[in-house]
Symmetry: C3
Amino acid sequence: MTVYSMENPLFVAYAIAAAIMVLKIMGQGWVTVYRMTKSEAGLLNPEDLLPGPANRNPHPAQLEPSDYVERSRRIHRNDLENIPAFLAIGLLFVAVEPPFWLGSALMTIFVAARLVHTVVYTTGQRHEVRATPYTIGSVIVIFMAAYVLVAALFFR
Amino acid sequence: MTVYSMENPLFVAYAIAAAIMVLKIMGQGWVTVYRMTKSEAGLLNPEDLLPGPANRNPHPAQLEPSDYVERSRRIHRNDLENIPAFLAIGLLFVAVEPPFWLGSALMTIFVAARLVHTVVYTTGQRHEVRATPYTIGSVIVIFMAAYVLVAALFFR
Amino acid sequence: MTVYSMENPLFVAYAIAAAIMVLKIMGQGWVTVYRMTKSEAGLLNPEDLLPGPANRNPHPAQLEPSDYVERSRRIHRNDLENIPAFLAIGLLFVAVEPPFWLGSALMTIFVAARLVHTVVYTTGQRHEVRATPYTIGSVIVIFMAAYVLVAALFFR
């Protein structure tokens, strides 16, 4: 039997975690769009100053950095530094067949940590609070990568 | 039979879409290199001001932002916000076995939308024009993620 | 037999390469954290100026760009422009079943090139030196993507 089948509970757990994380990444893009539109600020391109439905009252200051918009971009960037690595290593973690409880627990905690990270970052909590979910997510990915590496090198 | 086999037409469709999108990402890196070299601008590192084959007439203004070069970096960044998520969810979409016509149509449209997005962004079309292929690509990834999530939660 | 099994030597080679590259990405995040903490500079968020265990003597200049910290972010960004594409195409490369020597050689050289790239970038070597491992890694990913594309289009 193949490990990559919807009949493997850990693969299903991975599919659920990955789908939620993909929705997280894509949703952050729309938060940036929403914030640019609402604040009429934080635009990046000279052509975005053309008047039109998306920008009715353009002015040059719209190209200056806006913390309201940049915050969403920083969250997005932080996602991109963590989630694609999780998506890749999670798939391989399934292949090396850890105990189901371990695999599903790590994936669940990772997803929860990244969602909490976004809430904490969006609301501007202090650094130490933001660092906690970041650290949890990062340590899980590192653990999964080390587990895959050891399994691939020594236990096949 | 496993879904991840070159005998599964939807997996082959995914492989084609993914390969084109990977070439898109890598190509954008070389566009940035080309633009830096051609305009002798948009460099990022102090050591890039050392005279040599890649920079025959260095001067400090080369470290200032250049819209010609930054535009390629913004396109690249937009790719990184969308394409890795597609690559991950496309693979899982294959696993939940949607109708072939649906899967291959979504993947084809996604690839086309991202290539159009690059052309539109490179040529500096107005915001509303650029937003269209971005939206199409983003909605397809979101749909695929929702489809995987529902299939994994309810239909296995 | 499925290609995605720990009994396929090339899949094992991919798992090893992918795990190392995931550790590389995650490690760079911690290098940025280390550099921010050590130099007390390069912070990104207004709330990071709140006094606390992570920042005992806050001052507004901490929000200005610091090359020491930004260099780590640039390395990270370069990783994100190259490694996720490798992770996606490497998996598909396994599926089209190239000769083992070719697949494992390309993956090994890619991993080595990206690790050398980080060393060269971290130590601020001149542009031409940094461009070499970047080019090697990029060309390998492009070759793998072209190989997958041709195999998927013509040889199935």
